[in-house]
């Protein structure tokens, strides 16, 4: 059963199910950007990018890029009707001021108290933080997408982060390759897990106790 896990696309799909119609959403660079591809039919979230744009759409056809129209990952995007441009202080004002409904980020580690480590592994190389330390504060929901364990098999949901922190007590929900876990009052609360996985098996690859509140639903996703 330990081979059973969701692909990144499937994790992104699951996260997309929780994004309401009309929600204002910031998707972190890389993996979290995939969430936009799985927007639920009939819903129109508005995507925010830190560099001063609300309401962007998917990448343009190769060769038609306009490099003044990019996202925070410096990738070319397109405009949807009702978009708006603004400067960087206004953009992070939206973030810090609590105007985003959801911010979705990647993670190196998430602690049971909601601490997030996602910007550097150690002290080597050139450090770069970008907007991560701002994005983890202010959004109504701060969600994380991640494999449940590292490539070596170490838990990424931990008792306490050992990597440098991005933010303290900021994560509200984690979508992993095995489960959906909320952070409630300093604890991991399991909401959904793969049907084929036992509680014991899941706990064995999780670095802190998984609590439950009522039923744990099956984590069901389509083939992608």
């Amino acid at each position: 059963m330990s081979e059973l896990k969701l692909s990144n696309a499937q994790i992104a799909w699951r996260a997309a199910q929780d994004i309401e119609d009309g929600a204002y959403v910031n998707l972190g660079i890389g993996f979290p950007e995939m969430v936009a591809q799985y927007t639920v039919e009939g819903r129109t979230p508005v995507f925010h990018t830190e560099n001063g744009l609300l309401g962007f759409g998917p990448a343009p056809e190769p060769g038609t890029e306009d490099w003044d129209l990019i996202n925070a990952g410096k990738k070319a995007v397109t405009l949807k009707p009702g978009a708006s441009f603004f400067h960087h202080a206004d953009s992070f004002g939206m973030v810090r001021g609590g105007h985003l409904d959801v911010a979705i980020l990647g993670a190196l580690q998430v602690a049971q108290n909601g601490d997030l480590a996602n910007w550097r592994v150690g002290n080597k190389g050139v450090p770069a933080v970008g907007g991560a330390m701002d994005l983890v504060h202010g959004a109504k929901r701060v969600a994380v997408l991640t494999d449940h364990v590292t490539k070596k098999g170490d838990p990424k949901l931990v008792d306490a982060c050992t990597f440098p922190l991005t933010g303290v007590g900021c994560v509200t929900r984690v979508y992993t390759s095995l489960a959906v876990v909320d952070i409630v009052d300093g604890h991991f609360v399991l909401r959904e897990k793969l049907a084929g996985m036992s509680m014991d098996d899941l706990q064995a690859v999780t670095g802190a106790p998984l609590h439950t509140e009522g039923d744990v639903a099956d984590l069901v996703v389509p083939e992608l």
Partner: protein
């Protein structure tokens, strides 16, 4: 997503007793007269109202005060060409006043909308308006610490709005409105014209729709200054 509401009555129906309400405008420019009058008709009490001024004549905020709806005003300049409504209540001890320097008022509202709980300004240092506030010295100069200002509701007058709540303002009617739209939990807009998404150039949006909750079209809005000069009086419908 469509933030349009059919009428003013629906737009203000969520504003209950005890709410804090920011109202855009500077003097008559940008004053959302129709929204204010709809709020008077709805009649919530014990409101805290934040506006640069404190009403003029017998309409708008002055009419709210006359209707006994306002417990407290937070403003910089509670005087006007006809300040009777506020002055009478204030001198009778029936309305509270928090007087804030105008730039500090603007920056406190901006801080509320942008998640800055406190900041330092030189304004009011050493004056009676700084009494009781923390101070600090930076690079040899003295500053007063000011706190953010937020509200439950903002009533805003815009020129154009689209269905997503993107706004533009007309000339100097902009003033406090972009700041208040961001600092309120629920922002209610009256716009002279409402257009489809895409009807406003994305480079020319003054207030992005993320700050706006409800939009009502008021096609031919009244201007406070013109009403004052015409001696108009508003009474609850």
């Amino acid at each position: 997503m469509d933030k349009r509401l059919p009428g003013l009555e629906e737009a203000v129906s969520g504003i209950k007793d005890g709410a804090t309400v920011m109202i855009g405008g500077f003097g008559g420019s940008g004053n959302p007269i129709e929204l204010i009058h709809a709020l008077i008709d709805a009649g919530p009490k014990d409101l805290t109202v934040i506006n640069n001024n404190a009403g003029n004549g017998k309409i708008g905020i002055a009419a709210m005060i006359d209707a006994g709806m306002v417990k407290k005003m937070i403003c910089s300049f509670p005087k006007s060409s006809d300040p009777r409504a506020f002055t009478d209540r204030y001198m009778a001890g029936e309305i509270e006043l928090e007087l804030v320097p105008q730039g500090t008022l603007a920056e406190r509202i901006r801080a509320g909308g942008t998640g800055i709980p406190a900041f330092y300004t030189p304004a009011s240092y050493g004056t009676e308006l700084a009494e009781g506030k923390p101070t600090a010295e930076f690079d040899g100069k003295h500053y007063v610490q000011e706190r953010w200002l937020k509200a439950d509701f903002a009533l805003i007058k815009a020129e154009l709005a689209d269905h997503f709540g993107n706004l533009t303002y007309r000339m100097a009617a902009r003033n406090f409105s972009p700041l208040m739209a961001a600092a309120a939990t629920t922002t209610i807009v009256q716009a002279t014209k409402v257009v489809e998404p895409g009807g406003i150039d994305p480079e020319q949006v003054h207030t992005p729709g993320i700050f706006v909750d409800h939009v009502v079209e008021v096609a031919d809005p009244q201007q406070e200054e013109a009403l004052i000069r015409a001696g108009v009086e508003y009474e609850r419908a």
